[in-house]
């Protein structure tokens, strides 16, 4: 039971990092990244590539965490300034292209069969590392969100032309947010690889992106507490699928698919009735009368 708790906390921490990364991109800046699984996969595959080619684990982590932001900048490059609708499709496509490449080019990291990587022998250590990564991303995101930078990112979210006429370069800010949040997601991917000890393309489908989006939208994309709450809810339902299947006697495939269906329903209901999510953005008050 304790083992299960430790494992659950580790997994929730990893997905929380992905959620905070999406909070920065979408919740603050308004970037609709439907390929959030991509930087996560790049991190994991950096690790897998190193393992498959006899490189040390730190080199794999380095590759993943460096490659992800570069890839991010490449992906958003064609999204010309002030044309945003593009993002969703481009990022979605990029994520799939990466997965299909990993699937069909086995020399990188084993193709369909995947690759075994070093697995943390000590579950407590894995948990501590995951929580540390979460803490670092959380502090970073909080500092950014509460700063003048966070304020300008919110302006971008509302109206890029406004930001531009106020003398800001929207595309520069978007690049910065992309690079920073893709580094986070890649770090989560590295950790994930070492927690599971095995990496294959099937772990990085669009479904993963869908699960992250469900958590973020449900909890409230514009607040850190919101995305964390959403992640906890979604991941708890996910890890408990197994128990639900046992308890109900239904086949576990069916239960897993029902879960995804339920996520879809949750997304629709939230969009309709509570677009700001469970925890909405708090109003920042200033004293205007002080002299």
């Amino acid at each position: 039971m304790i083992d299960f708790a430790v494992f659950s906390i580790t997994i929730i921490a990893v997905w929380s990092v992905l959620a905070i990364s999406l909070h920065l991109q979408f919740g603050l800046t308004g970037l609709v990244n439907f390929g959030q699984v991509l930087p996560f996969a790049v991190g994991a595959y950096g690790t897998a590539f190193a393992a498959a080619h006899g490189l040390p684990a730190w080199a794999g982590a380095g590759i993943g965490v460096t490659l992800a932001p570069l890839l991010g900048l490449l992906v958003i490059l064609p999204a010309s300034r002030l044309a945003q609708d593009y993002w969703a499709l481009v990022t979605l496509g990029a994520g799939e292209i990466f997965r299909l490449t990993m699937l069909n080019v086995p020399v990188i990291a084993g193709g369909d069969e995947g690759t075994s990587v070093y697995r943390f022998q000590n579950a407590d250590l894995a948990m501590v590392l995951a929580l540390t990564l979460l803490l670092v991303t959380l502090l970073f995101a909080r500092r950014v969100g509460a700063s003048p930078l966070g304020r300008m990112l919110r302006v971008l979210r509302e109206d890029e032309v406004l930001a531009a006429t106020l003398g800001r370069n929207p595309f520069r800010l978007q690049r910065m947010v992309t690079a920073a949040s893709w580094v986070m997601a890649a770090a989560a991917g590295v950790l994930y690889a070492h927690v599971t000890g095995y990496i294959s393309p099937s772990s990085f489908t669009v479904l993963e992106t869908f699960v992250i989006w469900t958590a973020v939208v449900l909890g409230g994309p514009s607040t850190i507490t919101g995305v964390l709450l959403g992640t906890v809810i979604v991941q708890l339902t996910s890890v408990s699928t197994r128990f639900v299947a046992q308890w109900s006697g239904l086949p576990s495939d069916l239960v897993a698919n029902l879960r995804l269906g339920a996520y879809g329903l949750v997304l629709i209901l939230v969009f309709l009735y509570r677009p700001q999510g469970l925890i909405p953005e708090r109003k920042l008050r200033y004293d205007a009368d002080r002299l």
């Binding site: 700063s147 003048p148 509302e158 531009a164 006429t165 003398g167 953005e281 200033y286 205007a288």
Partner: protein, 251 residues
């Protein structure tokens, strides 16, 4: 001195501006009038860099202002308000005022993490200035309301305040009085006169002739993208051709 030379803009085959030229001196208000669709907003958009241009140039005190690059134009001290105010609706009035300030150390990652003291000091200064701008606009009581909740007239005042935070030498104002109640129009007129006295260049696109005649030093009339008349407000009012184009009949 703001000098605009031979600006032309086409949307496909449609010519929205035909070789428009004009000049505006510091400490003056230049009115820009004309019927709907005559190209007034397009003209302001070109100067603000929001609209790409076919040909022509804009100079401020002899320096060429880059066209089509809004973020660079702002750095030249040119600010634009929009016919339909552009605001961050889910930020408060106070925050909307603050984002007008430029540059902000706290918007750079490096300063944010390595020079927190600098960031804090700059932020405190911006807050002080925001307070005084709000007082000037008489909007202090709305400071903590969401910008999206303001009335149309208050939104126009707010976008003017946002502009002022950037200390613009040139203000491009697109129909600030449209849909605004008389009390707020009066407040705007006083504000414009103050800004003129401070030596700024103001281009005022406006249909409200009372406002135009009340504050403008000179008026340029556009029709179908071309300048058809230019002069002091009274002369323009008496110009039969202008009134015909404007109202569709002799005044």
């Amino acid at each position: 001195m703001l000098t605009v030379c031979d600006l032309s803009v086409s949307y496909g085959r449609f010519q929205a501006l035909r070789s428009v030229s004009l000049q505006a001196a510091p400490g003056s208000i230049l009115g820009l009038i004309g019927p709907n669709g005559s190209g007034k907003s397009t003209f302001l958009n070109v100067i603000a860099g929001v609209q790409a241009v076919a040909s022509g140039e804009v100079r401020l005190d002899g320096t060429l202002v880059p066209l089509g690059l809004p973020e660079r134009v702002a750095a030249h001290g040119i600010g634009r308000s929009f016919q339909t105010p552009r605001l961050a609706h889910r930020l408060t009035v106070f925050q909307n005022i603050m984002i007008g300030a430029r540059p902000q150390a706290g918007e750079r990652l490096r300063s944010l993490f390595l020079q927190p003291a600098t960031v804090r000091r700059r932020e405190a200064d911006i807050q002080d200035e925001a307070r005084s701008v709000l007082r000037r606009l008489d909007l202090s009581h709305k400071a903590n309301d969401y910008a999206g909740m303001l009335s149309g007239g208050q939104q126009k005042l707010l976008s003017l305040g946002m502009l002022l935070m950037g200390h613009p030498r040139v203000l491009l104002l697109d129909e600030p009085a449209a849909g605004v109640n008389p009390v707020l129009i009066e407040r705007q007129i006083n504000l414009l006169k103050e800004l003129r006295a401070e030596g700024r260049i103001i281009l005022l696109v406006e249909h409200n002739m009372e406002m135009v005649c009340g504050v403008c030093d000179r008026v340029v009339v556009l029709d179908s993208g071309a300048v058809i008349a230019e002069g002091d407000p009274d002369a323009i009012r008496r110009d039969e051709r202008v009134m015909r184009s404007y109202l569709g009949e002799p005044a």
